[in-house]
């Protein structure tokens, strides 16, 4: 739904009624079936074709993508129902993240460390960007939330600036064990372009330089396979073997994130070193 609407809205060659109609049909399906037990806002992760829930994740991500779809559908159609859905869901998500996660359904176990996955503030920052686009008033209201997200993401730079770690404690310290050492270079690069976009909007040149250094160059150089090329899926900050069997695989999406990040970095700074890395990733990605 989001992709069709965004293509329709921003690219002349995709302004085709069948795209918009498919997006609207999808949006109506989501409005009707996504919430598993209304008025609770929790959304299904998978539904059957006739709208029965197959799987519900105990995270915020289904709801985040629901919000993005509804907001984008509102931008294309002007139908206020979609925007009101988006805003209500956004309030619920922020409340789960910043106040009380119990509505997500995951029991808080006394032995589980209070950890923060970088994905959560990343996703929220992305939503702030989506909802605030061309909406000065909303952008103002959500500025505090954007700042909070950026701060939380930046906390994942650890070990004296030498590593981006996927999971840190609530107060920004490294966690013990393989959970704490877990790294995901493509995800760090994705956080990089989210933060870069945020720094550009804020006009914060110092933050921009920091982000290019820590979220673009650092994960690229430590995550790139020196032997065969390509970005590893997972790494361990101490160089141990990650527990995930698929850690050494080269997936398509980290390379997409890398190309977006380095092209954005180059177009902001004009630094040819960033353009060279973009070409290096593009050559690896498309040559086969």
């Amino acid at each position: 739904v989001w992709m069709y609407c965004r293509l329709y809205r921003q690219f002349e060659r995709f302004r085709r009624p069948e795209l918009l109609n498919a997006a609207k049909a999808g949006g109506e399906f989501l409005l009707r079936y996504a919430q598993v037990a209304p008025p609770a806002k929790k959304c299904a992760f998978v539904l059957t074709r006739d709208g029965r829930p197959v799987k519900v994740q105990r995270t915020i991500f289904s709801e985040c993508f629901y919000t993005m779809a509804m907001n984008e559908l509102w931008r294309v159609t002007g139908d206020a129902r979609y925007q009101s859905e988006a805003m209500e869901m956004m309030d619920q998500i922020v409340s789960w993240v910043r106040e009380d996660p119990s509505g997500l359904g995951r029991p808080q176990l006394p032995g589980a460390p209070a950890s923060e996955s970088m994905a959560v503030p990343m996703m929220l920052l992305n939503l702030v960007e989506q909802l605030g686009e061309a909406d000065e008033e909303l952008a103002g209201i959500s500025a505090e939330l954007g700042d909070w997200c950026a701060q939380r993401i930046l906390q994942h730079v650890q070990r004296g600036g030498q590593a981006v770690l996927e999971n840190v404690s609530e107060d920004g310290e490294e966690l013990s064990g393989c959970l704490g050492r877990h790294q995901n270079p493509g995800h760090a690069l994705e956080a990089g372009w989210f933060l870069l976009r945020y720094a550009i909007r804020r006009g914060d040149a110092k933050l921009q330089a920091h982000v290019i250094d820590k979220f673009l160059l650092l994960p690229f150089h430590s995550g790139w396979d020196p032997e065969h090329g390509g970005l590893f899926y997972f790494q361990d900050a101490d160089g141990l073997c990650p527990t995930q069997l698929e850690w050494a695989m080269k997936l398509w999406w980290p390379h997409s994130e890398a190309m977006i990040a380095f092209l954005m970095g180059y177009s902001e700074t004009g630094d040819p070193a960033l353009l060279r890395i973009f070409y290096q990733v593009a050559e690896y990605t498309f040559r086969r």
Copy 2:
């Protein structure tokens, strides 16, 4: 706990007090901390060193391994507390599987197909074997349960006997989609030696031949990599690419299951073809 007790009990060279003491210490730790919210029987999957739960799975497997440990500890020590724990937990597991799974904490979603993972009757059959060892009375009581498990496992032979599928419907039909097509050759071979042991105990030669055909030879021949050797981790019954990224990897444990299964098959039947496959797997497993 189970492994130390079993080694201590069955092998002269492992009859060492430090093994038994470690097993007892582990058993006491489990007695005290494994159950997350007693008197509910649900056990944690991971605990901290001081006994606080880190993770709880919404399946029966932690409880099954708890039962095995307690029963084996009772066999070594004669302490009736352990056996009474094992029997109480076993009753709870059987009730979750055959009567009401709601105590496991996984919500029943209306769109989720009622499917049976082969792991559940396999694990239960293994428990029947563990608890019934050298206990005629208990073996008699649990004979019905063993028959039920074997029947459920055999339902996973699908497509006119040409494929063992990991997940089938409650009434033994193939499920649609990649869930239904999912295969795990090492797991099928493991089910094979569980069933073989069951057929041997029952003295059922016809079942034994069926098991060797469908759970040993079939998964071995379809799961073995003809190019590089070794058993694939996952396969798709239609030959499509499995969704799991690690599907083509060669893991150690499927090869252990294969060696156990073929050696057991050979020692029962004397069929040299089974011994040849044992050697083929052993050579692949140990040569590097």
